[in-house]
Symmetry: C2
Subunit: 356 residues, 2 copies
């Protein structure tokens, strides 16, 4: 078990050793550890090795000149200069929030970035200032559009964070696939089969093999098949891809660069790096924030009290992750042995102490 | 078979007879007929009777004073004054576009409105000026959140319209349920059973009865069940409800007023009328529009050429509806006998000629 502070300070030192400025390294560490605390380890310490290897392969820029390349009062396009994704994303969301302070809302499309961790982190930045935050990103292609057998899209998530009053904020943070790549990987490691509706084989047949991705298969969009609305999951993933990449000038769809160094750099580019899109809307650009937050409390109470299926209860988006944060901050963060070993190797490489 | 112009002019006359100003009636008629042309008759002439009966029951306002009640350079809240939904929505989208002209983007939350027809209509208004258009609405509660047996949400749709160059625009217009209420009704009328994953019975058990809604059952969110991501469909529907109603001051979730006169006015109100939310983003607030549209063409080509499942092809969002528009504009609009009879009764009521 590790405390959040211990891991955060460790991750920060690692990125400083790679050459990142202190404050950039602090941002990256905070996003990593927030993923662990929120119970999303697939976006936490597991990814340290990926970034370490990208750095070794000189495929990321630890001293980026992140800059606004185009703007209006409510919009900007940001060039991330091939930064660690968390740094480009954090700076972009700051710009969106600054624009919202000025004209009510701010919208930033970011290109030339990399994997940015949990989408919800950036959306939740807006909560501190009574704003609604929005964050989407494209990602490595693993998902086939409806009626295709080709991996064309990432699991493209959408995060929306909305302030409440006495209740914790509403935080929807969900991918455009039925389940995550990480959950498939866990089932594969355990030798389990998976439900129908998650993946298809290389010929487009329904499959229950969670390891089918390594055999030419692909993930399906939310909905699973056309009869159950997979074209709507495709609409969501496609819209996120266009906002993240076409609007920013990043690589779209199948051209998103790999977020791991063991996959080669793609030959064809249609833009610069990975793309994100961020939004910030000041609540008081619509109504007084206190009034809105009281209404959100009423909304949350209404849905919490919806008549449940016997033995279940309605879950307000974000609740499980806030519960995790409280519990894991108290109990400590556990790293599975394989990840702890990877982290220890990186620690040794840089001569930074790390207890396993 | 009717020409679009014949029906449009007829619908306009009906609403003028109800007391609407000519230009408001023209907007309403255009949205009705656009639904027919796009192959979405569940939002077309079928709804004329609903609005006629709401008017007879004095439950809509045909002479609304639609006004902006709060604004910033990029946002507004509009009070629709209980207008026909199409009128409140059209005016709201115009305001969003005017704000986008000024500061790059415009975002309008609308309260005190009614059923607005096809979400895509308003999103597509933005295309004329090389803007991206966004339109969402809440709607009568028919859908249960994950783990609930209570109807709390509408089929809350999201429409996003994005300009392209040589290709037709990308127009995603999709509800947050696996299939539409209208398709369930058709299956029910035909005495068919439906797939699992669309509806549940009053106790939350999976059901294949498309008529289960009249027996206390409810529709499920996109994903169907928790294992297949229904909580993600719930996230989408809930976010749309909050943007449409909490941000605007309309009724949220279970309190959305009925869009038909045969259902009584709800006793409890938590806001004013039905709510919508609109967005307009000028493409050139991010990059030159010509450059963007060429990139969109490349995006569309890439996805059109994705390797298909044998015998199928990838469908770009919006393609089927544009195909319908071309075909139905050429062939004419067909009304099923039951609808033609309803329309004829309304025509006779007002003494407007209508051929059946």
């Amino acid at each position: 078990m590790y405390t959040a502070d211990y891991l955060k300070s460790f991750v920060q030192r690692v990125f400083v050793q790679m050459g990142c400025p202190e404050d950039d390294a602090a941002i990256i560490a905070d996003v990593f550890i927030k993923a662990e605390l929120r119970g999303l380890p697939s976006h936490g310490m597991l990814r340290l090795k990926d970034y370490f290897q990208l750095w070794q392969a000189r495929r990321i820029n630890v001293r980026p000149q992140i800059k606004v390349v185009h703007e209006t009062p409510s919009t900007a396009v940001v060039d991330g200069d091939n930064a660690v994704g968390m740094v480009a994303a954090y700076r972009s969301m700051q710009i969106a929030m600054e624009k919202a302070r000025q004209v009510g809302t701010g919208w930033v499309a970011t290109r030339n970035s990399n994997h940015y961790g949990i989408a919800g982190y950036y959306a939740m930045m807006a909560l501190q200032e009574d704003m609604i935050g929005i964050s989407v990103t494209n990602a490595n292609p693993l998902v086939a559009p409806t009626f295709s057998i080709q991996r064309m899209l990432g699991t493209n998530p959408l995060a929306v964070a909305i302030p409440a009053g006495k209740y914790r904020p509403f935080v929807a943070d969900f991918s455009s696939t039925p389940i995550s790549r990480g959950k498939l990987a866990v089932m594969e490691k355990k030798g389990q089969s998976c439900d129908l509706g998650y993946v298809q084989d290389k010929d487009g047949n329904p499959s229950t093999d969670p390891g089918i991705l390594s055999k030419g298969g692909s993930m399906l969009t939310l909905g699973g098949d056309y009869e159950h609305g997979s074209h709507k999951g495709f609409c969501m993933a496609a819209t996120i891809d266009i906002f993240s990449a076409v609007l920013s000038g990043a690589n779209f769809g199948p051209f998103v660069p790999p977020s791991v160094a063991y996959l080669p750099v793609l030959e064809q580019k249609v833009g610069e790096g990975t793309g994100h899109f961020f939004g910030a809307m000041r609540i008081d650009a619509f109504q007084p924030a206190d009034h809105f937050k009281a209404k959100m409390d009423q909304w949350i109470e209404t849905f919490k009290n919806a008549k449940p299926v016997p033995g279940k209860k309605v879950i307000i988006p974000g609740e499980p992750e806030f519960d995790n944060e409280e519990r894991i901050a108290r109990q400590g963060i556990e790293l599975v042995p394989a990840i702890a070993t990877d982290v220890k190797e990186i620690a040794d490489f840089f001569g930074i102490p790390f207890e396993v």
